[in-house]
Amino acid sequence: MAETVPEVAGARPPAVALEGVTKTFGQVVALRGVSLTVADGEFVCFLGPSGCGKTTLLRIIAGLERQNAGAVRMLGRDVSSLPPSQRNYGIVFQSYALFPNLTAARNVAYGLEARRAARRDVSHRVDELLELVGLRTHRDRYPAQLSGGEQQRVALARALAPSPSLLLLDEPLSALDARVRHGLRTEIKQLQRRLGIATIMVTHDQEEALTMADRIVVMNHGVVEQIGAPAEIYTEPTSLFVARFVGQMNVLAATTESRPGWARVGAVALRCRPTISRAAGMPVTLGIRPEEIEIGSVRNVENRIVGRVSSVQFLGAFTRVAVTAADASLPLLQCDLSVSAFADAGIKEGMELPLALPPDRVRVFDRPT
């Protein structure tokens, strides 16, 4: 299911290249040496918790904020100190920021007028874009007369009207209710594919990032934690932060053993995914996703644990079973089971349940001491 990452063609420089971008607000360090590239036509998501610097990074790319250090390149051109008007992008803000005193059509026309396009071309292009976002009949409405989803589409049309080479989206869906959000998610993705425009979307919603992005940039406290395709971020998180922020993860505090590839949680020794060898007695954190834990008639002989079902939670497509291990040093383990697997195992609260943690799924992360 891995998404294909459009390769950077030799001739075509990346739509955006950031080199060591640093930004401070007084004492607050918002960004610390951020470097990344966005290929032409690629859809990249900046993902991270609130306050990690995603918006700041997007605003620096937009030229609405000036970096303290580092360079911003667009299609090979250094735009580090150019004003927004000379960077050729379209941006959609978190809260739309439509001009309240202008109609939908005049909002869409705004960027074209600012570029002094001919009046007839403007009108033609406005119709074309309102058509594209399905709001042709709303052209004479004011923003206050549009729903949240409609406003967001007008904002999208406004950003795309001058045919920019880059589209920037700052949490474009966060202010919308769930149904509208899911609809727009697909719409934006299809539109981006159709136009083939390089796009950066900021979000704090991991599901949004996983479903929409070609590549995800996971950020935390102003630094890039990991960059990769959604599947890679999910299956091969390189840090505990990424592992816990994207998807669910059972975490176990452990110490390394002298045997390479083994770690001990209390009295229980667990074999882990082979990683760089660590010295014995190092504190580490082990992580395994809920759906990776094997359950019931376990074929595996390694990493076997006996526990008792403490709660069962039906979550639609799957069922989450919380298991208290017999060994008190192990934490409560969450296991996700498909509906059929759950039915086959005949699990009830309070029953005893054998588990296995497949060694190639037990990830090892450094634990800061």
Binding site: S95, F99, P100
Partner: protein, 389 residues
């Protein structure tokens, strides 16, 4: 059962507290109602009643109004008032807008200082400021004697200057509030779409302060059209409605005509007040909760330009206020303000020489020599000014 008892207990105390609150509220409403009636409604009704009586107290219907509009000399005061108010309004709002823009949208140094200085004209009535202008620009004024240039301050020019001066802080307060409530997101959007400064100003800044501008216009218009002091002191032969009332009542002992002019004067004032009230209510809907405050940009040119402009305006204000202050401290050391013969004749019996300065500065505590309704409209329009800053 226990839970039920526990639940009713706070309920009862809450209800009792509600009752107390309601009583307090009723008492306060009654108190303010009485005060309002005594000081606003009653005098106004008196004036209204007077305007439909003749000199001997007989009911004559609208006869006074007909006579008013048929007497060219008196009716001219309407057009004069409208003209002066409109000119002063446009000038004041324009000057105050640029000043407020400098205070709120640039990072020029000394913004706090300039803000305080601009408020100085609030501390003396327009009458005093007009006298100060006479001291400076009058026939016998400081500047006139020093330079030999007589700017001809008596008349429309003087009235407008005095009114602009005294209304400036009122307009400024409103415009500073309006300009402070900017939504940075719209400026970001305009910048990202490549809009020029002019386009941004026309499509973002102006629409954003539209209601503030309208409000400032109405407030200034009301203040000017109801002002008596400045036209009286500096107006010369130029007759406006407020001075016409005085003229009728004090000069000719014609109370009914004075009342008639007062009622006519009330119309533009009330209209301006009502429109302003409606506009104010719409302004609140405009600033959305998610608006991000605007950080002023650091353009050096804008900063220097607005610094220069604000310095000139502030210097003028300080200069006039210094004149007021020196006149108040040593009334006899200053040249007697020259006036046109007509206005001197009219005023001199009551207030000779520079003494009015001293009188008017204490007029807040001393009983006013004018009938209550004469200054009533001015006071009420002042108190309805929206609180800003």
């Amino acid at each position: 059962m226990l839970a039920a008892a526990g639940a009713t207990m706070p309920d009862r105390t809450a209800r009792r507290r509600l009752d107390v609150e309601r009583v307090v509220r009723l008492v306060l409403i009654a108190l303010f109602g009485a005060l309002l009636y005594l000081f606003v409604l009653y005098p106004m009704l008196q004036v209204l009643w007077r305007s439909v009586l003749d000199g001997d107290g007989r009911f004559v219907g609208l006869a006074n109004y007909l006579r008013y509009f048929r007497t060219p000399a008196i009716a001219a005061s309407i057009t004069n008032s409208l003209w002066v108010s409109t000119v002063a309004m446009v000038l004041t709002v324009l000057l105050a807008f640029i000043y407020a823009y400098g205070l709120t949208r640039t990072r020029m140094p000394g913004r706090g200082f300039f803000r305080v200085v601009a408020m100085l004209p609030l501390f003396a009535p327009s009458l005093v400021q007009a006298i100060a202008l006479v001291y400076v620009f009058g026939n016998n004024g400081i500047l006139t004697r020093q330079t030999g240039i007589n700017v001809g301050i008596y008349g429309v020019r003087g009235i407008v200057l005095a009114e602009v001066f005294s209304c400036f802080p009122h307009a400024l307060l409103i415009l500073v509030a309006a300009l402070s409530a900017a939504d940075a997101r719209l400026y970001d959007a305009a910048a990202a779409l490549g809009a020029s400064r002019t386009k941004t100003f026309l499509t973002v800044t102006l629409p954003g302060v539209k209601y503030g501008l309208m409000s400032a216009c109405f407030v200034v218009f009301t203040l000017v059209i109801t002002d008596f002091g400045a036209p009286k002191v500096i107006g010369g032969k130029y007759s406006v409605m407020a001075t016409e009332i005085y003229n009728q009542v004090i000069g000719q002992q014609n109370f009914t005509m004075g009342a008639t002019v007062s009622v006519v004067l009330l119309v533009p004032a009330v209209v301006a007040f009502l429109v302003d009230w409606i506009v104010q209510r719409r302004q609140y809907a405009l600033v959305s909760a998610s608006a991000r405050p605007l950080r002023p940009g650091d353009g050096a040119l804008g900063r220097r330009l607005s610094l220069g402009y604000c310095a000139v305006v502030a210097a003028f204000i300080v200069g006039i206020d210094l004149v007021i202050l020196t006149a108040w401290r040593s009334p006899r050391s200053l040249p007697s303000p020259g006036r046109s013969s007509r206005s001197r004749a009219r005023i001199s019996s009551r207030r000779p020489g520079p003494r009015p300065v001293r009188r008017s500065t204490c007029s807040r505590s001393c009983p006013s020599p004018f009938p209550a309704w004469c200054s009533g409209s001015r006071t009420s329009s002042r108190s309805t000014r929206p609180a800003a800053c």
